[in-house]
Symmetry: C2
Subunit: 158 residues, 2 copies
DNA sequence: GACGTTGTTGCGAATGATTCCCATTACCCC
DNA sequence: GGGGTAATGGGAATCATTCGCAACAACGTC
């Protein structure tokens, strides 16, 4: 079996390499774990545990939701996956290689991926004022997106 | 009956005025609502619904937790109260007159109240880059506080 | 002050997201 | 290929919050 050559998001070699890392850490390369990883490496991020469960179950119907949660937790411990909270509602999971913050619209729920540089001003201010080091990745910053602001402004005018 | 003269946090006159506003909006000035408001106007913010329930129940033991939630929801609709999410765990409630953002430590759970000005840099950047208007009050920005950073750095050295 | 309307309450059950427990299964090292 | 043990399926437990509903209590009116 050769190494995967798919263009992985940004540095992690692929499913097989992750599974190798899992085994090095004393874990096992189970089928559910492999399928879950394939889904995580596929396009489209910000998937909830339940969405991932559905995707996995299309291939292996017996994989239980709690197995998904356990695997995500384990993969997170290994640094392969992270989760983010985009507002109310369930957490979303994605590969740890995709590092960005999130701006999430309170009106329509849309989520923007924000380059970490966007948070530099706040990071600097928090560091200076409080010695506090922000982590913009774990929780989204809420607010209102351009489309909703335009719509709401229009409604106010009408 | 005279207006309350207690030094209210920052502009809202007091329990009686809020209850007046409630009645103007077609609501009723019930005992549980009055007691809840007294607790909200008392010192110490960032209280969870459950903590508020305990405080209220010290005075009126039969007030049910769901009543607290309903009253908080109603008061929030009237613009008297807001809630914030300070990380994992339950939401916290406080008077809407206290406007500040939150920095919440992922290690120790401590929460700092941050003046809204701290977020100006991020607000500007998000507006320019995405037309996105942030609301720094509803969700805390997570990260690591000075104390925990010092402790963790020390542990790393040891 | 009694009355009726209708907003509110107490209570428990329902929900949604996640975690826990446990007996069974299936990796994978030797 | 057998055995030790990590992982799984299944369901029950948990935590925060919401809902449904019958009984109750504000408050304007008479």
């Amino acid at each position: 079996m050769s190494v995967e050559h798919r263009p992985s998001p940004s540095g992690l070699a692929g499913v097989d390499e992750v599974l190798r890392r899992v085994r090095e850490a004393g874990g096992r390369a189970t089928t559910s774990r492999r399928i879950l990883l394939e889904r995580l490496f596929s396009e489209g991020s910000h998937k909830t545990a339940e969405a991932l469960a559905h995707e996995v179950q299309r291939v292996a119907p017996d994989v239980h939701l709690s197995t998904i949660y356990r695997n995500l937790e384990e993969l997170e411990r290994l640094g392969v996956v992270t989760h983010a909270h985009l507002g109310h509602g369930p957490a979303t999971y994605h590969l740890a290689t995709e590092t960005h913050g999130h701006l999430s619209c309170e009106s329509c729920g849309a989520t923007l991926e924000a380059p970490l540089g966007l948070f530099d001003g706040l990071a600097e201010a928090a560091r200076t004022a409080f010695g506090f080091e922000i982590d913009p990745r774990h929780f989204a910053v809420l607010g209102h997106c351009a489309a909703c602001r335009a719509r709401e402004a229009g409604a106010a005018d009408a």
